[in-house]
Amino acid sequence: MQMTMDELTVGQRGAVKAIHAPKQLKRRLMDMGFTKGVDIEVVKLAPMGDPIEVSVRGYNLCLRRAEARKIELR
């Protein structure tokens, strides 16, 4: 069973396995540092549970659940 980033709860960590997204979005996510094998941690959820704040490569960014769902973890 594959796991995606949106399934993590606050404080949980994971490592990126693959990104399943259209070309543009995939490139954007990778440019921001989500490349294969990189460690990520979910830091926080926005007031309505969406978007989520993620720590990657030593900095924090936020993205929506819809995008997080496209990032497969291992």
Binding site: K23, R27, R28, P47, G58, Y59, L61, C62, R64
Partner: protein, 653 residues
């Protein structure tokens, strides 16, 4: 004279560095995407350009495209890569792309003052060896290291060493060298690097391919084969493989050059600011406090003082000119034109100063990006993005920078919708109109002022919902936003921004408002045959009466109100100065009634913004047709709302 370009990730402090180098005070803030246009300055006799921040040379939003186009087409003599030293790895990812452009590269490690606090040590000598570019450590906000940087710039411009290209894994390098050997590569534009072009060919970069002659068939087949072999080997698409390789290089350099101590978890403001329950109430509270402090507290105190001061000044000048026997035309221009008109506007300087001060603190501390984060879900139901909230907050100061800041929204429809709704948020220049009306008609009724802001927000919501209902595609797009570190706003930055904006307001009072006050006075004192007449028979009255009937249903169908609205197109403060010249602030009651005063305010709140903001809208919307629709919507919506407000008030009272 040579050209230098400042490039770097969003929010790495390029503009702060630009200001420190050139001694200017361009707009800075602490969220990704403050700079959306390129800015030019001079340093040591060279032209220096500040460009919008980018994460990579593959652009997504319009302002990123600007940066890419500039670096690729204009061939600057030196690229200064501004690096947030606390964010080395991701910054170096961009460096690996910049290095391939064949231009001299100078790495600037900015925010050096934060390194210690973050528990980071960077070996700059090693970094310089590994990247093959000189490295300078600065703190642009504290102003340290700037002289060393200026020396390094001169040095780099003299030496003109191209940067070292990052090397990928052998498996890919083999293909790159094969591709470079092909004759086709000689077709690349002058100044572009073969290696860079070869990588673009592997990636199948559309922007690059469209700038090149068509690929010969044999070469195209070869490239397809290369890509297939890469895909088979790495189990990913070619573009992703290259990004991955670049990050491997960045990781490798960062690992070798920096030591990061694990930070101790301490209390941070963010645990409240983005707390799931407290976040939104806190945001409302903060904005409320901003307006209460500026308009309520400071404004309530200074406005009457300044009003009396200008009134006294007017009467003194009047008596003085009487005794000196000055021509009544001249004393009229002075007293009833300039002092009444400009004075009415200048009265609001103290409270606007406080408003600008508080907004620039908000912008500088890192809270803006958090607002986008906490509000995204709500904004999405309106067909907007979390990023749309930033223009709306900035719009409480001035719509022009607010409209421009919408450019960081990647999705075109959301961006355009943000541009259209931003003017609904009352800017600082509309404040004098509301304050004038409220103090005259509703003294002590404090709850009306917040209702105006609320009405502006309602207009945003209605427009958003409507646009969403009409839009058949309902496509959603990505929302990816870096959340910058919180920082204590620097006194220097806050002061510069506040001073700049307040002076801008005062300058407008000294130019546009002054001129229009004189013109309005003359037009309202003379007939078409240039006879000094009563205001009712003046040129202005006759012109105003042409459009005045349009506003009769709204309760202000007299020419003074219409003329004031027209002059408001030049700048919204002009409405106040025009009313002061034509009616006199003390006589408002003989023209307006409470219901028409409210409908007048509603109309001003929502109708099309001033000419500067219309210009900004045109630039962002990019088409006359869209601009026309936007203005029609704003003005039509304003008209209906004003009508509704008036009849609701009439029914209730």
């Amino acid at each position: 004279m040579q050209t230098i370009a400042l490039i770097g990730n969003p929010n790495s402090g390029k503009t702060t560095l630009f200001n420190a180098l050139t001694g200017t005070s361009a707009y800075v803030g602490n969220w990704p995407g403050v700079t959306v246009e390129k800015k030019e300055g001079m340093v040591g006799g060279h032209t220096i350009l500040d460009l919008p921040g980018i994460y990579s040379l593959s652009p997504y939003s319009p302002e990123e495209k600007l940066s890419r186009r500039y670096i690729l087409d204009e061939q600057p003599d030196l690229i200064i890569d501004v690096i947030d030293a606390t964010n080395l790895e991701r910054s170096l990812y961009l460096t690996t792309q910049l290095a391939e452009l064949g231009r001299p590269l100078l790495l600037v490690l900015n925010m050096a003052d934060l390194l210690e606090r973050e528990g980071i040590k960077i070996d700059t000598k090693r970094l310089s060896q590994m990247t093959g570019s000189p490295v300078v450590t600065v703190s642009a906000s504290k102003g340290t290291g700037i002289d060393e940087l200026k020396e390094a710039i001169e040095h780099s411009l003299r030496e003109k060493h191209a940067a070292l290209c990052p090397l990928f894994s052998n498996f890919i390098e083999r293909y790159i060298s094969h591709i470079i050997e092909d004759d086709y590569l000689h077709a690349i534009p002058k100044g572009r690097q073969m290696r860079w072009a070869a990588i673009k060919l592997i990636e199948e970069d559309e922007l690059f391919l469209s700038s090149m002659p068509p690929l010969p068939e044999a070469f195209d087949t070869y490239l397809t084969k290369v890509r297939a072999e890469l895909v088979a080997h790495y189990d990913d698409d070619p573009e992703a493989i290259i990004i991955d390789q670049r990050y491997k290089v960045a990781e490798h350099i960062a690992k070798d050059c920096q030591i990061r101590k694990q930070k101790e978890k301490s209390f941070n403001f963010d645990s409240i600011a983005t707390n799931r329950i407290a976040a939104i109430p806190l945001f409302v509270l903060i904005m409320g406090a901003v307006f209460y402090l500026s308009i309520g507290l400071v404004g309530g105190y200074t406005t009457p003082i300044l009003e009396n001061l200008f009134g006294y000044l007017g009467s003194q000048v009047f008596t003085l000119s009487e005794t000196l026997g000055v021509h009544p035309l001249l004393s009229g221009i002075l007293v009833d034109g300039i002092i009444a008109g400009v004075g009415a506007v200048l009265t609001f300087v103290p409270q606007l100063f406080v408003l600008f001060l508080l907004l620039s603190i908000l912008e500088d501390c890192g809270y803006m990006a958090r607002i986008a984060f906490i509000m995204d879900r709500m904004m999405r139901t309106l067909g907007l993005s979390g990023k749309s909230i930033i223009p709306l907050v900035i719009g409480t100061g001035c719509s022009v920078p607010a409209i421009m800041s919408s450019r960081t929204i990647e999705h075109q429809k959301q961006r355009e919708l943000t541009v259209i709704v931003t003017p609904f948020i009352p800017c600082g220049a509309k404040m004098p109109v509301f304050a004038l009306m409220l103090t005259y008609f509703f003294p002590g009724q404090w709850y009306i002022a917040p209702m105006i802001y609320l009405l502006g927000i309602v207009a945003v919501i209605v427009t958003g919902l409507l646009a969403r209902a009409i839009d058949k595609h309902k496509e959603t797009n990505a929302f990816i936003l870096e959340l910058p570190r919180y920082q204590l706003p620097t006194v220097r930055n806050v002061w510069l921004q506040t001073k700049e904006r307040t002076l801008g307001f005062i300058q407008k009072a000294g130019t546009i408002i002054l001129l229009s006050s004189v013109i309005i006075y003359l037009l309202s004192s003379y007939s078409f045959t240039f006879q000094a007449v009563d205001a009712e028979a003046s040129m202005l009255a006759i012109m105003g009466r042409v459009i005045a009937p349009l506003f009769a249903p709204l309760g202000f169908g007299f020419w003074q109100a219409s003329v004031a609205l027209l002059t408001g197109i030049a700048a919204k403060e002009t409405i106040v100065s025009t009313l002061s010249v034509t009616i006199g602030t003390a006589n408002l009651g003989s023209f307006f009634t409470p219901d028409s005063a409210l409908s007048y305010m509603t109309f001003i709140l929502l109708s099309s913004p001033c000419i500067a903001a219309i210009g900004a809208m045109f630039k962002e919307l990019g088409s006359k047709r869209k601009l026309l629709y936007a203005l029609l919507w704003q003005t039509g919506f304003a008209y209906l709302s004003a009508l509704l407000v008036r009849y609701m008030v009439l029914l209730l009272i």
